[in-house]
Amino acid sequence: MCLAIPARVVEVLAEDQGIVDLGGIRKQISLELIDGAAVGDYVIVHVGYALSRLDPAEAERTLALFAAAEAAMNEGAADGAGGTAA
């Protein structure tokens, strides 16, 4: 299922290796597939490799989108109630 999980880079080692932290668990992984990973970056870890970087700003934007569903719906409910019935 392509199990992968976002983890924080806490150490960058030689030969494109790095240590990541996920909720207090630390594991050595390979950073070879992404360029210029730095301590503090969040990366998506899959079978011991960082597949991509995670963009915290985009994550915030998506979370905001979830919350916006409510706002949109409230509006929709206000003028949409008549709409659906019609």
């Binding site: 299922m1 992968a4 079978v47 011991g48 991509s52 970087r53 995670l54 998506t62 979370l63």
Partner: protein
Amino acid sequence: MKFVDEFRDGRLAQTIARAIAAEATPDRRYAFMEFCGGHTHAISRYGVADLLPPQVRMIHGPGCPVCVLPIGRIDQAIHLALQRGVILCTYGDTLRVPASDGLSLLKAKARGADIRMVYSAADALALAQAEPQREVVFFAIGFETTTPPTALVLQQARRLDLRNFSVLCCHVLTPSAIGNILESPEVRELGTVPIDGFVGPAHVSTVIGSRPYEHFAEEYRKPVVIAGFEPLDVMQAILMLVRQVNDGRCEVENEFSRAVCRDGNLKAQQRVSEVFELRKSFEWRGLGVVPYSALRIREAYAEWDAERRYVLDYRGVPDHKACECGAILRGVKKPTDCKLFATVCTPENPMGSCMVSSEGGCAAHYTYGRHRERAA
């Protein structure tokens, strides 16, 4: 866990659920396929189906690499371990999958085969270095996510001239499978099986980007929303699909923008194309033979290709005749429509692709969803 827990928030789930219920037209049917096993898993494990209105139905797709791995490929791996005496390294996922002659990798191990579970392809390479007197084969399975790591270890093996290491390559390609489903007559002919849209792969897309799906959206007029594997991601993607359907749009949208961009991971793609080339055809369990749907190792790496090195030929093994996986994977049937479901075919004794891992449609329903049959 940052960037995980926020995406499992039950309160926000209710919010999105209300939005879906409000926006999905009551007298219209919405059938969406989640391609990936990861999405199937999230839907079953978190009970996402309970938060959807009755007119929205999810179809579990073929995106579980273990499920679609044909028996014949596992037979090859077992042959290498039992008859050729190699150390066979594999991800834990494949160990239990039943193969021919009542065997599985786990059972072959019990018969004396040297089979090691690894977390990473790099572990297999390290093992070959540590045991130079033994031959080590890495059983490489998976979609575009596991492929780049395999490419890296093959390049490393060549650099090190590590002669006791090779790879049995069974890597498959996501877009070909989606194409295959869309091309099938049941789906093409309007009105038979409506798949109204796709929840697109999460981690596969971090590698290949969102661009490859643009073709499906355009050519087949199906909306695609790429989504993360957390349950809120799935809910949001469903909402976005409902909106596209309502608006008559067929676009590729990206809900998983925190990790996926249009081009994907170019470095990973580059490594993959250096090492692998397309196979003319490959058998998928459940879907059958799909043209240009898998990768094989390039000539330059022939030395490290287990298929060439051990001169393996492939023999297909058909599934039980009554198995309905082909129809289930295309949304024509549900697991409970199969006569074998929960009687002959169970997770302990899978008869077809969809029962093999907990991410297969049949297994997910068996393990997590049987209580729903009563309600229905």
